[in-house]
């Protein structure tokens, strides 16, 4: 049969399968060899004794640049050498897996991830009290608060459970090219972002990037500060205006990227991401809001079920020593230490620009932040934000667009514009699914339902659905009222 090619036979297929299998087998042998060279894969207990020494297990949200600087430095320290620690096992799961991992008893140290996460761990009893003499000495090196933010946390029994190991400030990254394209002013405070000018290009061009609260602890802290600093009602009203002028993104990286890529002109920013954007896109610069600096202490703590507390304490001591703190200033990290003494170390002398920022940050009088309140209402807070802003965003933007458009068209005066904007930002009222009572989202109500929002997922889902529908109807109602006034 002339149309048939002679090449079709079993041999070619078999050759292919054999070659692929050989590659796989070779790969596995390679894997074995790599396993011998690289980190060992043994160990089912917290601090594993390998043939060559002890292993410390640290759960963290810090990234590879930080871990790759700290690991060799710690392993070379006198403490690690004298205690035979030869390896650090890093575990970097996302937040929903932290508690499960700590419960397995395999975690020694918890490090990095923001105060909200550590407060939740404290609430669930997963952090050890730092009561030893060594820990008290270490804690004494750190200021109790910086720029209004607590650097240490005590549980309800008065035990110290975490200490800040680094600080971050919050502000916004501004894309100058974007603002110039649309002749928008550069904001200098959080409240500037609530101005109608930033909604003047709606509905097509949002000018701000905000992170969805349940997906980003850093952005959540910004929103909490705004509601605490400006007051509950004014804070939510401000957030409503900002969200109306915004695209809402998922995590802090996506939020940051929006300004970096020129999708928006301003994004909520944590300082180190702001500086990174500044480097990658020359049109971007990081702004520290005037008089409204928000500082976070990024915690370090010890798991309450570690069986090697002494080694864990040694690591905490190392991180909070002047030398350990100076590692934040390493060229591959460049983050802000919590101890001023870090700048006296060799790495510190090479980071004078960061020293200037550090001095500016600690001198700034920021908004005094109530951490206890934050912990009491955090889960209700983030879900409320998501329900009324992220999940009702289409209706919110429609409402805010109309208010702003009619204001600039001269159909609304300033006081009318502010009145409707405030009306739009009012917190909504729902019939609580458990009590069937009509409940407005107040601090008291948030405090009351916070535990149910954490542990009763059915209830939380129902409440969120009700908030979203209430918010959509509320925005549509305000929109109708504005339209009724128009000529």
């Amino acid at each position: 049969m002339s149309e048939m090619e002679a090449t079709r036979n079993t041999k070619t297929i078999l050759v292919a399968v054999v070659v692929v299998a050989l590659v796989a087998v070779g790969g596995y042998i390679g894997l074995g060899l790599l396993g011998n060279i690289g980190p060992t894969t043994t160990g089912t207990t917290t601090t594993t004794t390998t043939s060559s020494g002890e292993t410390l297990t640290v759960i963290t949200r810090h990234d590879v640049s930080i871990l790759s600087v700290y690991e060799p430095a710690f392993l070379a320290s006198d403490f690690a050498v004298s205690h035979g620690i030869t390896k650090i096992l890093w575990k970097t799961p996302s937040q929903e897996f932290w508690e499960a991992l700590i419960d397995t008893g395999q975690i020694d140290v918890c490090w990095g991830g923001g105060p909200t996460l550590f407060d939740q761990l404290m609430r669930d009893g997963l952090l050890s009290a730092l009561n030893s003499t060594l820990m008290q000495t270490v804690a004494a090196r750190v200021n109790n608060s910086i720029a209004g933010a607590d650097m240490k946390r005590y549980d309800s029994h008065g035990n110290l459970v975490w200490i800040a190991a680094a600080i971050s400030s919050f502000g916004f990254t501004v894309n100058d090219a974007f603002l110039t394209d649309y002749t928008l002013p550069t904001p200098s405070t959080w409240t500037d972002l609530a101005q109608p000018i930033y909604g003047s290009l709606l509905p097509t061009i949002p000018t701000i990037a905000m992170g969805n609260a349940p997906d980003t602890t850093s952005n959540t802290r910004i929103y909490e500060i705004i509601t605490q600093g400006l007051g509950w009602d004014a804070g939510w009203s401000t957030l409503g205006r900002m969200a109306g002028s915004s695209n809402i993104y998922s995590g802090s990286v996506e939020t940051q990227a929006a300004a970096e890529l020129g999708q928006v002109g301003i994004s909520m920013s944590i300082d180190f991401y702001g500086y990174l954007s500044q480097y990658k896109n020359p049109d971007c610069h990081y702004v520290v809001p005037e008089g409204q600096t928000i500082v976070n202490g990024d915690p370090i703590a010890i798991s309450n079920i570690t069986s090697h507390e002494d080694l864990a304490e040694g690591f905490v001591d190392f991180v909070l020593s002047p030398y350990g703190q100076s590692l934040w200033l390493h060229p591959n990290i460049r983050r802000m230490p919590v101890l001023r003494a870090a700048f006296d170390q060799p790495l510190g002398s090479q980071a004078q620009d960061l020293y200037a920022v550090f001095n500016q940050t600690i001198k700034t009088v920021g908004i005094d932040f109530n951490d206890t309140l934050s912990l009491e209402i955090n889960t209700a807070f983030i879900y409320y934000f998501e329900s009324v802003f992220t999940d009702a965003h289409t209706e919110l933007v429609n409402c805010w667009t109309t208010i702003v458009t009619e204001y600039y068209a001269g159909h609304l005066n300033v006081s009318q514009m502010n009145m409707f904007a405030d009306m739009m930002g009012l917190t909504v009222t729902i019939l609580d699914p458990k009590t069937s009572l009509s409940e407005k989202f107040t601090i008291d109500y948030a405090r009351e339902i916070n535990n149910n929002m954490i542990y009763d997922t059915v209830y939380a889902g129902q409440v969120q659905d009700l908030w979203t529908i209430a918010a959509k109807n509320h925005y549509n109602d305000v929109l109708s009222q504005v339209q009724a006034l128009l000529p």
Binding site: D63, S250, I454, I469
Partner: protein, 685 residues
């Protein structure tokens, strides 16, 4: 003879011809196709309407009979199973069932069981499913108990203009309906594009064909996370296109941006059409030319020939591509995350699952897996619908154990020009994620309104040796991908063989089981793996290698199964029967006759399995995060993307994306080299 009589005489043979052979031209055929369409659609319903009823009655009767005589029926099923199952088939079936039970069903159940439990009572309940319909973003028609009326949150506004920007988005009917209509549109576009290009490449010779054949596969090369950033870099408000045509060249009077579901449809269509292309191309190449020649001898030409002979013969491949496209569109999480900024993009089922599971609240909402179940049901319904429709239109082509020399024609100069006018812009758009990742990997700085980067650098690639784990992850990824693919080929061809060639109780269930993994949200399976296996021999702390490999095996299994199944559907069973008549055992027949016959299809599928394995996200992230030393490249891409310092951020992460794409291409090329000329039927390289 009068004119009228002669016309009458001419008309009579034509009527006969229409009923039988139809030797007419393209225009007439096209006209008759469309004019005849309503009648044929109507006749499908009227003619076939009784079928489901009778089938249903049959099934009901069978079920009632089973209840009446359970012991008898079970014995009968057992006896049928024994009769159908020779030793090889039994081993194949057992292996598949064990692997899927351990690495799909159990992890899934460990998460999904919470979706069927009322947490307040601990009793089985559908409360999570019912509650979903109270979410206005999932189901937009809500009853307001205060006013006693129904309120609709459907949004049909698609085009908006403001400032210097025009935005285009889709209709918003809530997550459930959005996912379905997006998948239907994406599948339709992908089938049209995929079949068109497969046919052109299979049947025409034109300058540059070898390159086109290769480039048409590139859209399937996936680069998680950085691909998303790349799409924004090209399609955003200040992306490549707007900066070129609006800011720089001033050709457009305004910027244009696709948002929400419109953007998702655009991106998915232009990446998934390659799947249809790859499968349809295999089918076109395996059509017996004599069948088409016979049709031509009988007068069928042009579109008529294509529609009535070529297309039905290629249907198994097209069906395989369409099924994969439909399911991947519904399951796609990457696109909604890319376009998250527009709220509409969040209103898809896959995103709603993700949102319920991954958040800073530290709890997994059982509503997430519940949405995952709904997603699975829709995806598998689509699978069954496509399979049923395509099965009615497909025929065995009888490859007779060989590869045909294709019937190719030379494209005219004008035709070639026209082809390239369509092809180049389309491929450019389809390759945006891949091109942009490469550009980003060489970017030093990139200003907002600049068409291309301000400065270029090779320095970003230093990230590959800055962190030892990153370099090692390349090797691990390759090992996981290749190992998983070898297992997939062995088990996948077995599964396809059992489904296509054996008749045993539960065959349909097996078919659904082996196809379902791509319809299951990865994050649900990954969470199940963590919950079920962490700290067990399958997943010792710090050693996720085995579980990652099995995860890739199970999750990327369907690509090979569907391709192998398509191959078997195109191969007449008489060849295997002939082999057995000549004295070969079933085992010998499977190894010596069946496998070689479907080899090309299996390899086409296995390449897809490999490509999608190495770019797998969900289990790689979750398992990699607790076993970083053995984590694959996708995990490290994300780590680098989120890292600070001089080796962090998107430009460095793009380097890993570029390496991943190169790796995928190298494996495809090596496979092709090994197989020599036969590979033209797989990938066209």
């Amino acid at each position: 003879m009068s004119d009228a009589e002669s016309r009458k005489d001419e008309a009579q043979p034509r009527q006969v011809a229409e009923e039988e052979l139809v030797p007419d031209d393209l225009v007439t055929n096209t006209q008759s196709f469309f004019s005849d369409l309503p009648r044929r659609i109507g006749s499908r319903f009227t003619r076939r309407a009784p079928r489901p009823a009778s089938a249903g009655t049959g099934k009901r009767a069978s079920f009632v009979d089973f209840l009446k005589h359970p012991g008898l029926r079970l014995r009968a099923a057992g006896s049928k199973l024994r009769k159908e199952m020779d030793s090889l088939s039994a081993i194949q079936l057992t292996a598949i069932v064990i692997v899927f039970s351990l690495f799909l069903v159990l992890p899934l159940l460990s998460v999904v069981v919470f979706s069927f439990t009322d947490p307040s009572t601990g009793m089985p309940s559908l409360v999570h499913f019912v509650n979903l319909f109270h979410d206005s973003n999932i189901w937009p028609w809500q009853y307001d108990p205060v006013t006693g009326s129904w309120i609709s949150y459907v949004n049909l506004q698609t085009i908006q203009r403001g400032g210097d920007l025009v935005t285009i988005q889709g209709w918003d009917f809530g997550a459930i309906l959005n996912s379905i209509y997006v998948a239907v549109i994406v599948t339709s576009i992908a089938v049209l594009l995929g079949v068109f290009f497969a046919f052109i490449v299979a049947r025409y010779d034109f300058p540059g064909k070898r390159i086109v054949r290769t480039v048409l596969i590139f859209p399937i090369l996936a680069t998680p996370f950085v691909g998303a950033m790349g799409i924004k870099t090209f399609l955003g408000r200040a992306g490549f296109f707007n900066n070129l045509f609006y800011t720089t060249l001033h050709i457009l009077p305004f910027r244009v941006e696709l948002q929400g579901l419109a953007a998702i449809i655009f991106v998915q269509s232009l990446s998934l059409f390659s799947l249809v292309y790859l499968n349809a191309y295999s089918s076109f190449m395996s059509i017996d030319p004599s069948l088409e020649e016979q049709a031509e001898n009988l007068g069928a030409k042009g579109f008529k020939l294509f529609r009535s002979v070529t297309l039905p013969l290629a249907m198994p491949g097209i069906q395989a591509g369409a099924i994969l496209t439909f399911i991947l569109s519904i399951e796609d999480l990457g696109s909604p995350i890319v376009f998250y900024g527009s709220q509409q993009a969040q209103k898809t089922l896959a995103f709603q699952v993700f949102k319920s599971i991954a958040n800073q609240a530290g709890t997994i909402n059982p509503a997430g897996p519940a949405i995952g179940i709904i997603l699975l049901v829709f995806a598998l319904t689509g699978f069954l619908a496509i399979r049923k429709y395509a099965a009615l239109r497909s025929y065995e082509s009888g490859t007779k154990g060989g590869q045909w020399n294709p019937r190719t024609r030379r494209l005219t100069g004008k035709g070639t020009l026209l082809l390239y006018l369509v092809l180049i812009p389309l491929l450019f758009l389809a390759l945006i994620p891949q091109m942009s990742v490469i550009i980003l990997s060489f970017t030093g700085t990139w200003s907002t309104n600049s068409v291309l980067p301000d400065t270029w650098t090779l320095g970003n690639y230093a990230v590959l040796w800055e962190y030892p784990d990153v370099a090692r992850s390349i090797q691990y990824t390759l090992i996981y991908g290749v190992t998983a693919t070898v297992i997939i080929v062995l088990l996948g061809s077995s599964a396809a063989y059992l489904i296509a060639r054996r008749d045993f109780p539960g065959k349909a269930a097996l078919d659904l089981l082996v196809t379902s993994p791509i319809a299951l949200p990865g994050i649900v399976i990954a969470t199940g793996y963590f919950t079920l296996f962490y700290n067990t021999p399958f997943f010792p702390p710090e050693a996720p290698a085995f579980l990652l490999t099995m995860s890739y095996t199970v999750r990327k299994f369907p690509f090979t199964v569907r391709a192998a199944y398509a191959g078997l559907k195109s191969t007449p069973v008489v060849l295997e029967e002939a082999s057995q008549n000549m004295g070969a055992s079933k085992n010998q027949t499977f190894v010596k006759v069946t496998l070689p016959l479907i080899g090309v299809s299996v390899l086409a599928g296995s390449l897809l399995s490999f490509v999608y394995s190495v770019s797998e996200v969900s289990t790689s992230l979750i398992l990699g995060s607790v076993g970083r030393a053995q984590a694959p490249m996708t995990f490290w891409t994300r780590e680098i993307l989120e890292a600070t310092g001089q080796f962090g951020g998107v430009y460095h992460a793009a380097c890993l994306g570029t390496v991943m794409m190169s790796m995928q291409m190298v494996v495809i090329t090596i496979t092709n080299k090994i197989l020599g000329t036969r590979t033209s039927a797989i990938t066209g390289i």
